[in-house]
């Protein structure tokens, strides 16, 4: 017969450290009447009657589009001033899109393909 030991069974409340209990006790607890969901707000905006939506339709113009997340890494390689005889092969592997913002001499390259080697001659 299964007989759990006293040590293994702990009340959930006992697992919360005293400091955490104080934080819960002192934290702001909103009253039910103050809580309004986004759905409530939307119904209110559209003019609901007794919580039921009226027969209005919303037309969204244009296609939905995820926002672009752009990261620019300036000065990844800080080098000495090229004297015009340097030839460097760059290879990048990445997800998404990548462009060379600046090769270090003011030139750039867009539409870089992952794994592609780009040979840059400094002149």
């Amino acid at each position: 017969m299964y007989n759990p030991s006293y040590k293994k069974v702990k009340k959930i409340s006992n697992q919360i450290k005293p400091r955490a209990q104080d934080q819960i006790r002192n934290s702001f607890t909103p009253k039910r009447a103050n809580i309004r969901s986004l759905s409530d707000l939307e119904r209110e905006r559209l003019g609901s009657i007794d919580g039921n939506l009226t027969n209005r339709r919303i037309k969204i113009k244009g296609a939905a589009r995820a926002p672009e997340v752009i990261n620019t890494f300036v000065g990844f390689w800080n080098f000495d001033t090229p004297d015009g005889n340097e030839v460097v092969n760059y290879t990048f592997e990445f997800t998404g899109n990548l462009l060379i913002e600046d090769f270090g001499d003011g030139t750039k390259e867009t539409y870089v393909t992952g794994g592609q080697t780009i040979t840059k001659s400094y002149s």
Binding site: F73, W77, N89, E93, G104, Y122
Partner: protein, 391 residues
């Protein structure tokens, strides 16, 4: 200061490879820490003097740059806890010592070949995944660290070329996957390890040390390709090697080995066979006869000089691959010298290129019949061979 800048859109930059092919280098410093997601950075012959890495780097590979010491990899090698490959090679500027690797617990590859590093080798006790450790061509000193906690080890290179390492060859019984082992050119003493513990060995180089004791049971490594035990103080007989069908290089020379020539009827890959000058420790060297060599169809070099050989058991010289036959300073009588010259002459009916050498001269060997006018000797010389015999 000019510098490379890149931009990502809806994605992450995982790997950057920079390889300068021109003589002129851009030099400078790389700050990979600004790309948080970067996992691999490889920089070849670009003259950089430092690298700052991010927390997610898995691979750092720097070859032929101007890194002054490993402290110039910021914020420190020990901070790269996700690293499985640290390679810094062929850097003439790289000096100093190797830092502790105890925080790099998932490290698999550690390549520090051909720098100017000094001090003691690091310990590997906290790197159980380490499979490749290359410290060759530096100026290390002290003992080789223990390898008892490295079961994944496949390749070990501690050959310095400057007699820097001392002490013993470590116990390798935990390294059952070991394939390549090189400790040549050091000041190691003691015995060779037990080859039965490393059955997957492919190459083993322990030449030019102060090793003593017998040659181990090399037949326990049936796929071995290279065995180089030469220039030590090994004693006892030459072990059985006839099951080593992949064996290409077998150098047991310049030791104190003795006994008869081993059986060589099944060595289809053998190209270099050297038992010469086994007179250390007062040893008489190899005795008896040179065996029939038809079991070594692509042999190129046979060096049995300075032994105590009295004959040759073959009837025809087996191969046209030979270009270097050295059996000087043995106990070969005139009849055996004649037979060897005639057999080689018959095997090579046409002129040969440069570098073809036969040496049957030296104390103890007989002169061929008619001395320098021996017809086979004259014929071989006319075909381009360099022939050295007693007169």
């Amino acid at each position: 200061m000019p510098g490379l800048s890149v931009r990502t859109i809806n994605g992450q930059l995982k790997k950057v490879v920079i390889d300068t092919t021109s003589t002129n280098k851009l030099g400078g410093t790389i700050n990979a820490s600004i790309i948080n997601d970067l996992e691999e950075i490889i920089v070849t012959t670009s003259g950089i003097t430092s690298l700052t890495g991010g927390p997610n780097l898995v691979k750092i590979e720097l070859n032929g740059n101007n890194i002054p010491n490993l402290s110039s990899i910021y914020p420190g090698v020990s901070s790269f806890t996700n690293l499985d490959n640290l390679t810094v090679t062929n850097d003439n500027a790289l000096t100093g010592t190797v830092p502790s690797l105890e925080e790099n617990v998932i490290l698999k590859t550690l390549g520090l070949r051909n720098n100017n590093l000094t001090g003691r080798l690091p310990t590997f006790s906290d790197n159980p995944s380490l499979s490749f450790a290359d410290f060759r061509d530096n100026s290390f000193s002290g003992e080789i660290p223990a390898l008892s906690t490295n079961p994944e080890m496949v390749q070990i290179y501690f050959n310095n070329g400057n007699a820097g390492l001392s002490g013993f060859i470590p116990e390798l019984s935990a390294c059952s996957k070991l394939e390549n082992f090189n400790v040549s050119g050091n000041g190691l003493s003691g015995r060779l390890h037990d080859f039965r513990k490393t059955p997957n060995l492919k190459t083993y180089h322990a030449f030019n040390n102060h090793l003593t004791g017998p040659v181990p049971t090399v037949s326990a490594c049936p796929t071995v390709i290279t065995l180089e035990f030469d220039q030590n103080y090994l004693s006892g007989g030459i072990p059985y090697i006839n099951n080593l069908t992949d064996l290409k290089i077998c150098n047991f020379n310049n030791n104190g080995l003795s006994g008869h020539f081993p059986e060589v009827t099944n060595l289809a890959s053998l190209q270099f066979l050297r038992f010469n000058k086994n007179d250390r420790n007062g040893s008489p060297g190899i005795i008896g006869a040179i065996p029939d060599l038809s079991g070594c169809p692509i042999l190129k070099i046979l060096d049995v000089a300075n032994c105590s050989l009295t004959g040759w058991n073959g009837t025809s010289w087996p191969s046209i691959q030979f270009n270097n036959i050295q059996a000087q300073t043995n106990l070969l009588p005139t009849s055996e010298v004649n037979r060897i010259l005639a057999a080689i002459n018959a095997t090579y009916p046409n002129p040969v290129g440069s570098g073809y050498l036969i040496n049957l001269a030296g104390t103890g060997n007989g002169a061929p019949t008619n001395g320098n006018s021996n017809s086979d000797r004259v014929a071989l010389i006319s075909k381009g061979w360099s022939v050295n015999t007693n007169t």
